[in-house]
Symmetry: C2
Subunit: 424 residues, 2 copies
């Protein structure tokens, strides 16, 4: 028993790190509560069939599976190593469990449900810088509300949370899966090729337009359709406004899809008051195949990857409940945001009233404790510490641990003398 | 994909339940921060060898084990179904991971470390009323501080947290594992029988003194020792004060053990100010074998099981670090406390400013959203909701969801008319 490190790709969080995460969490929750969102919670584990039903896409390959126990394990096939050994799995996101939760509890839930979830998810990915196998997701979802009301609320709430965290000059990029489908259809793609085309398009930031062209021609063998699609997308990307871009979209597009996009863009823009922007981005795809309507991302020129992402998924709850329920969600990239905040300001938010009360082991403990209570009643966060022979070194350490004050216990002093650590 | 329930023994938490848990968590954390505790966090998963090293006692049989992945799984013995299929496990408590965490990070941690942890743990127990397979633990630990300073801080902080949650008239019961050992030795038990004797004694609440006698005679075959031990314990339990009980303890007891118990009892009593009590209980055992010094529990005549429990475990960190570090912890029975609070006050703490802004789908969304922002700026937590034809029924539902106010959007009104839901 001497393995001192956490499992590969997972982290121990030091006090300073937890303080920053707690601060960010409370800022985000406070914003979302103002918008009427309520916290809900599902267990970390789900029955394995709910994590392998296809809704999770590629993430389903990354499930940490939990071994059956007792009789159930003994009765599972011992020869074949595979799914039959596991009956549970750790959730890989908060969306699939929420759909299961809503279907299982809908009669006890508000309608619409405005849910906020902040919690860990697990993925057995290859660990790399900034990517962990346990990480926190931070999602809001509105279930039971049509487009575009829900979209507007989600975008405004998420933007407000990012502003409250100190972000600015970010842009909400918005598209609609039905716009992408129309473009693919108009270009001559077969419906069964749509998803493959979108997955290729999603890589444009990484492999560029030539990379996308090569990949599409390779898989689809339909040079004409590929050229037509990329031609209209390229033309669009040279246009500034939604009006201008819309002018290049094929006629067969549903009018309500455009109208809803226009409403969301106009409403959000009016509320943004110049603090952030929103624009139609026909190249926005979002990875998950469960999206059915508008999709959105928040990004900033300052940072390489996006700060938040989400969209409408009107067909997922129906897979659990048997009837479709409109649903839309927006997820802040919590780990991303934390790493940016850490880089911005490496000193954590200080508890301004943290005080160390230093005492000798020979001091009367009852009096030391009574002094500590007096200081706590005055609003200090008091930590009792045995005074060390090298006081100067001890005070330096305390300053590093975000202590602002110290007091050396002296039974004769009334009230105790409080010194600031910065002054040392 | 149609399993709507969470895994067996695990729970979906409804908004009202999460609200109460969040409230309790923030009350507890606020108290602990005043005492100088800082939050730390370890991953939910630990390397399996750290969960099967013996420190966890019976809980080690209840580990949810995580199947190896990819190559590692294929290379594990396929015939034998057992440990070799799993490389990770979900933590069964917060103490063993904290010991591993401290040993792995001690150079980056404050000394002493005053840690607070609130988080889920998992045990594959047979589910029963009030016992779940995922549940929240709430621990404070002081690592690097000798007895009795740490014990006093832990007991005062935990008592303060319970007082802040609305509990009163509870009693801290305290004992020392070395008192129990002395008594067993004095009665004639062999050292290797001590732990079995303590486990039997621990059942006295359930099986009574006769039950303990029968079990001890059955396992130890040493009638004389059993009678002698039960005789001194029975005599003690008729005495009121620590002084009187101490008079019945055998002479070979270390003087410092008594002195430390006396100091803790006196110091805590002076701080309690009549709001709660503390008493020496020679029958207090606490289940875990890792305890090395003082042990304590908080109970109340109002409730059948204890509200909190803990003790000193000076040998656990040494198993990871190679050298012993004094350590002591106290854990609030979070689920127990929540179920008592729920029973006391079935209506959750209301967000006093929760307001539903009802609108028609034909209303101009930009104006509706602008009104919502105005109300949010005034401090309301505003939820946009489409107005239903049956307004009365909708308002009743909103009242049940802890909404206090509503407003029906009307573009001509300036400012919006706010009505209280209670007045309906």
């Amino acid at each position: 028993m001497s393995n001192l490190t956490p499992p590969r790709g997972m982290r121990d969080l030091l006090p300073r790190e937890v303080t920053l995460r707690d601060h960010a969490t409370s800022v985000i929750l406070e914003t979302y509560r103002k918008y009427g969102f309520v916290r809900v919670e599902t267990p970390a584990l789900e029955n394995i069939e709910n994590l392998t039903g296809g809704e999770g896409g590629e993430n389903e390959k990354l499930v940490f599976k939990v071994l059956k126990r007792g009789e159930k394990l003994l009765n599972s096939g011992t020869g074949a190593v595979g799914l039959d050994l596991a009956d549970l799995g750790l959730r890989f996101d908060l969306t699939v469990p929420l759909a299961r939760y809503y279907a299982g509890n809908f009669s006890a839930l508000p309608n619409p449900l405005k849910a906020v979830q902040i919690g860990p998810v697990w993925r057995a990915e290859r660990p790399q810088k900034g990517r962990y196998r346990q990480f926190t997701q931070c999602d809001i979802d509105i279930i039971g509300m049509d487009s575009p009301f829900a979209e507007v609320e989600l975008i405004l709430a998420t933007s407000d949370a990012l502003l409250a965290l100190g972000f600015s000059n970010f842009t909400v990029r918005i598209n609609d899966r039905r716009v992408l489908q129309s473009l693919a259809e108009y270009s001559g793609f077969q419906p069964e090729a749509f998803n493959r085309a979108f997955i290729a398009l999603d890589k444009i930031d990484k492999i560029g337009i030539e990379g996308v062209r090569n990949e599409l021609i390779g898989t689809e063998q339909n040079v004409e359709a590929v050229e037509k699609l990329l031609d209209v997308l390229t033309k669009m990307s040279t246009q500034q406004t939604f009006e201008q871009k819309k002018g290049l979209l094929p006629d067969q597009m549903d009018r309500p899809v455009y109208d809803a996009l226009q409403t969301v863009i106009d409403t959000v823009l009016a509320q943004a008051g110049g603090r952030f922007g929103i624009l139609f981005d026909p190249l926005l795809v979002r990875g998950m195949s469960y999206y059915t309507g508008q999709i959105f991302e928040i990004s900033s020129a300052e940072f390489p990857s996006s700060l938040a992402g989400g969209g409408r998924y009107d067909k997922m709850i129906g897979k659990f409940l048997g009837r479709d329920i409109p649903a839309c969600g927006f997820s802040i990239g919590f780990e991303r945001v934390i790493s940016i905040l850490e880089a911005k300001n490496p000193t954590s938010p200080v508890h301004s009233r943290k005080l160390a009360l230093l005492f000798e082991k020979t001091d009367p403990l009852a009096d030391v404790v009574a002094t500590a209570r007096k200081l706590r009643d005055e609003g200090y966060a008091v930590s009792l510490q045995v005074k060390r022979p090298k006081l100067r070194k001890q005070l330096d350490e305390l300053a590093l641990q975000d202590f602002s004050f110290f007091s050396v216990f002296d039974g004769r002093e009334q009230p105790p003398a409080i010194k600031t650590l910065a002054a040392i």
